[in-house]
Each structure stands twice: as structure tokens, then as C-alpha cells.
């Protein structure tokens, strides 16, 4: 009897180790924060138009608007209005403001008098289907560039939404797209300020 109990104990310990190993492997290693950068020195930022890799033409503008508003609402930075950013893009003559070079980032930050520039790539924005279940999914990655050298000082990505166990079992259509967008932005803001 005693031998049987010890046997179960070994099995439980082995399962626990396997579980822990599995969790460790699933952690995304793709976020970056420059540890030498003093983020408190950044008072104002310009959010450039996001690169849109989705089929929805206006999706990037929708997500950018949410991000700009939510970033301003944190009161950590002053976020330049999009009209002013657009004026800066025109004055700097950026052909592809979604993917600025280091020189272009420096140039636009000088024109707009900001301490940092944020660029983004919208990778997913739409509905995913699996069997009879469907749900909204948003995937966004962001980069923050400092203005002296135009180097990346912070980078993170987030994917939210998608089909959950509840969606599969109950057949619900997931959360509205705006809600999922807010979750993505919140997740990225948490990563920025952690």
C-alpha cells in the first residue's frame, strides 16, 4: 500500500515538471525594452500611421485612433493630435510614414518637437472561423523610437480575441471588434509601463 502511494507521488511530480516546462516554452520572447533608456524623460510622443497588413483599408486608422486616445488617457505622455502629425509628415516629406528610417524619425521629431515617435504594424484585424464558431481577432505590434539617434527603445506585440472554449461550446460570436482592440491596446500599454 505504501509503495503504491509513493508511485502516485512520482507520477504527480513528473506531471508538474512537464506542465511547468510547457508553460515556460509558451512565453513570447519578442518584447524588447532598452534598459539604459530613461523613459521618464519622454514627455511627448507622435504616433505615426500604422502599417496595415489586413484586408480592411481603414483598420489601421481605427486602431491608431484607439491607441492614441488610450495612451493620452494614461497621462504619462502628451500625444500629438493626428492632424498635427499629418502636417509633420507632409513637412518632412515622408513617403512611407508607416516605416520611417532613423533619419526620417529624427527629422519628423524635430519638426513636431516630440521626444519619441511610435510606429506600429497591424497584423490581424478581422474574424476568424473554426467550425461553426467565429470570433474577432486583433494583432498589433508597436515600436518606440527615440529622437536623438532614431533607435528603437521599446517594442512589443499583442494578439487578443480569437475563439475561446466558451465560443466553441456556446457558439457565440466573440466580443465586438472595438472591445478586442481595446484589449490589445491595454495589453501593450501594460507592457510599456511595466
Amino acid at each position: 500500500m505504501k509503495r503504491k502511494t509513493r508511485f502516485v507521488g512520482y507520477w504527480l511530480a513528473s506531471l508538474w515538471i512537464l506542465l511547468q516546462t510547457g508553460c515556460a516554452l509558451s512565453t513570447p520572447p519578442n518584447d524588447f525594452t532598452n534598459q539604459t533608456m530613461d523613459f521618464s524623460a519622454i514627455q511627448s510622443v507622435a504616433v505615426l500611421p500604422f502599417l496595415n497588413l489586413t484586408s480592411d483599408d481603414q483598420a489601421a486608422e481605427r486602431v491608431r485612433d484607439s491607441f492614441m486616445g488610450m495612451l493620452l488617457a494614461t497621462e504619462a505622455f502628451y500625444v500629438l493630435p493626428s492632424g498635427e502629425v499629418n502636417r509633420g509628415i507632409s513637412r518632412a516629406g515622408l513617403r512611407t510614414p508607416q516605416t520611417p528610417s532613423a533619419e526620417e524619425a529624427k527629422s519628423i521629431s524635430t519638426i513636431l518637437e516630440v521626444d519619441a515617435v511610435i510606429t506600429g504594424v497591424l497584423r490581424e484585424y478581422g474574424t476568424v472561423r473554426s467550425g461553426s464558431a467565429e470570433a474577432n481577432l486583433v494583432s498589433l505590434s508597436l515600436q518606440m523610437l527615440e529622437t536623438e539617434k532614431g533607435t528603437v527603445i521599446w517594442s512589443a506585440s499583442s494578439t487578443q480575441g480569437g475563439i475561446t472554449m466558451g465560443d466553441r461550446l456556446l457558439g457565440s460570436g466573440g466580443q465586438p471588434m472595438n472591445k478586442v482592440t481595446e484589449q490589445v491596446v491595454n495589453d501593450l500599454l501594460n507592457k510599456l509601463f511595466e
Binding site: 497621462e75 500625444v79 493630435p81
Partner: protein, 487 residues
Amino acid sequence: MICSTSFLNKKTWVLILVAFWLAGCAPRALEQEKPEPLAMLGLDVTLQGPPTARLGSLQCAFSTSGGSGKVTFALHSLKAGIETVEFSGEQASWSWSPKEPGSYHIKATATDDTGAVIDSGWSAEYRFYPPVDADTLYAVLPVDNISAAKAPLTEIHLTLIKALTEKGLSILDHDELEAFMEKNRMRYTGGISAEIGQQLKDELGVDAVFITSLETWQEGDPPRVSLITRVVLTGEWPEILWMDSVGLTGDDAPGLLGIGRIKSVEQLLAKALDSLLRSLHLYRTGGYPTYRYDSDLQEMRMVNDAGLTADFFGTEVRGRHQPHFTYRAPDFDPAGRYAVAVVPFLNVDARKYSGEVVALHFVKQLNRYENLRVIEPGLVRQTMLDYRMIMQAGPSLANSDILASENILGADLVLSGKVFDYQGTRGISKVDFSVQAFDGKKREVIWTSRSYATGDEGVYFFDAGSVPSAHGLTTRMSRAVVDMLEE
């Protein structure tokens, strides 16, 4: 003699005498520096111009005596039991013109450096009437179609004129107005510029103009009608006097077995016009609800809360219509007096003219605050055309500078935004927009918010609580935003 001279020569005695003399002077000098207590000698109030809101004004001059150091003054007004500070500063005379009609009492307070406060006591009652009365001549501009659909605009225009005439209003002859529009090449009927406002006054003797925008027009099943109407004072500087809107669908109140359904769009239009005219009557009789800042409670309070507007202003805004996130600059004073320019919203992915529709809803909501003077959208549009302001991504600081310039529009706040969704003709209504407000003087964003909602949110049983029209949703959502901005 020698004795007395030697006595005077003794330095010690001279010093003692000087010390006594100084000691005697010192208390007297201190007594002279002690100020008299602050006292209010009087508050002179003189009415200038007619006793009508916006056109007439009260010239208030205060005189005080005494007080320590710098004395600052404040002019208070009392209306419907709500006291608010209209002006404050070192100036001892103010000219104050009430925005809304009503009975006002005036009081001045003075404060010195020691914190001593005195007041003049409330003045006698000054009654200000609406700038429009039984003798006012109105021009009814042709309906501006922002419904993105074909609509019988002439019929709607004539129905509106007929309804106004039946209510006893003096309306300028339609042919005369058409001749004026042709002569002055006036094509835009969604607002009036300063030039047109002056010409209407000088050439035709028109005192006020009805400007009507058709937001929704659908003749199918169910029919839908949404109208936004305002009355604008003509003259050198056109001002919005009254503004309201109505949005109806045939399915608003189906009742038992659908008996209450309205299937005719003409019937719906008549109902909509009736609601608007009831609201206008409220304004003309001084009972239109407005918001006034209560300086004691430090919050906005409603005046004439019993009056029901066409868009049911004053009813509770539910949580689902509140903005999903907001930012208000910490140094923004909601009680301040501001001139607000509302710029047409940028239409990102919504139906045609939705940017104009949402902007008009904000003009309507902001105009109900007594501390805000909303600039007539026609003036804003004319300025944007004159300065060739093209805003591909909303206003820039340079655009805001033009609108804020004292020589141009003098807007303290510039409100703009983006519309991402505006669906109200088929299926479930859906509205999604963001709002941004600049402080024109500080060149800073003072407000940002994002609002989105659908008409069926929170609806579980028999459509109870559903909002079938996009107009209804926009009204609720815009009101929630303005409430939060001004709270």
C-alpha cells in the same frame, strides 16, 4: 548762557532727545499704515440695449474703499436659484450679456490680500427676453440634405414653412428668399456666413433664419425621419439661438399587435415637425432647458428641467452610451466661459456626410450650456474655405491657430473628431466616433474620447430599451461626452 550751551553740546543729551522724538513718531507712523477695512461703496448696474438675451447687456461698475493690498472683484449672477460667477479679476467694471433668456440678479464681491470678502448684496431683478418675439421675421432656408439618400427636399421645406406659419410665426416669402439666394449666389443652406447674415438683415430685414438639416430619410418599411433644426440670429455675427433635433422610425412604439406602427413617412415627418415646434415654443416662452454652472456646488445644474425637448434632453444617459475611454486635461476648467468652434468630423469609414451629422449633434449639445458660446457652423465653414484649410487627418495646430485667432473666429476651444461607423437605415443602428478638443490659446489637446454603441446593446426582452435610429444613439452618445467634458 555758557551753562546752557555746554548742555546742548553734550552729545548724549542730543542723542536722547532724538531717540525720544523717534519713539514718539513710530507709533503714529504705524497707525497711518494700518488699512481701513474693505468696504463696498456700491454696485451700479445699467441696462444697455434691449432687455433681450445676447442683444442687451448689463454694465456693472463696483466701487470699494479700504482693503489691504490688491483687491479682486467677481461678478455673480443668480438665475433659478443657481448662482454662478460670470467674471473675476482686478477690473472694477464689467459688461455682461446673458446668453439665455430669464430673470437674473447680479451681485459683486471684492476680496483683498488678507482674504477679507465683502459683497454688494443681490441687485433688483433683470428680466431678459428671448431675442425672437411675435414681430420677428424669419427666413426658412431650403433643407440641407445630409442623409446620403434622395429625399423630397422641396416638399419637406414647404411642410416646415406651413407648420411654422400655422404656429403664428412671420416667415419671409419663399420667392423673395429664392431671389436673394440667386442674387448672392448662396448655394450652401447648412449654415450662414457673417456676410450672408448681414445681407439677410440689411436687404430683407430678416431677424432670424431657420436652418434645417435632413439627417435621415427612408420611405421603406419602417419609414425613418431625422431632422436637426436651428434658429440663427442674423446680423454681423450670426449666433445660434435655439437648436434641437428629432429622430423617428415607424417602429418606435409598435404597441400591442403592432397597432402603433407608423407606415407613412409623411405622417412621421408631421410628428417630427410637431416635436420640433413644441421645443421651439419652449424657447420662445423662456422655458427651454439649459445647463448652468453652480458655483456653490461646483457642478452643472439644469435650469427649466421640466421642459421636454424634441430629443428628450434631460433624460438619463445609460452606461452603455458613455464613452469607453476619456482624457480631460487636468487644468481644464469646465466652468470657464468659452467660445467653441465645432469642425466637421473626419469621415473615416462611415456613410457619406456622417462627419457633418455628428458635428451637428455636438453643436446642439454644447449650445445648451450657458457658459459656452458655440460658433455658428456656417461661420466655421466659411473660415475654413477662406483659409483653404484641408484637414486630411483632423485639424493641426496651425488650423487651430486660425480658428482661435481673435481677428478671425476667436474660438477658445476647437472640437473635432473622427466617425468610424454610422449605420441607421437598415438593421441594427450602430455609431462609432472619437472626439478631440483643442484649447486654442494653449495649443493643447484638452479632451479625447472614443464612443461606440449599437442600438440593441443591453436589450433582452421584447426590444425594451433598444434604440432603433442612429440619430437616437448619436444624441445619447454625444450628450454623454459633453456631460463628461463639462462635469
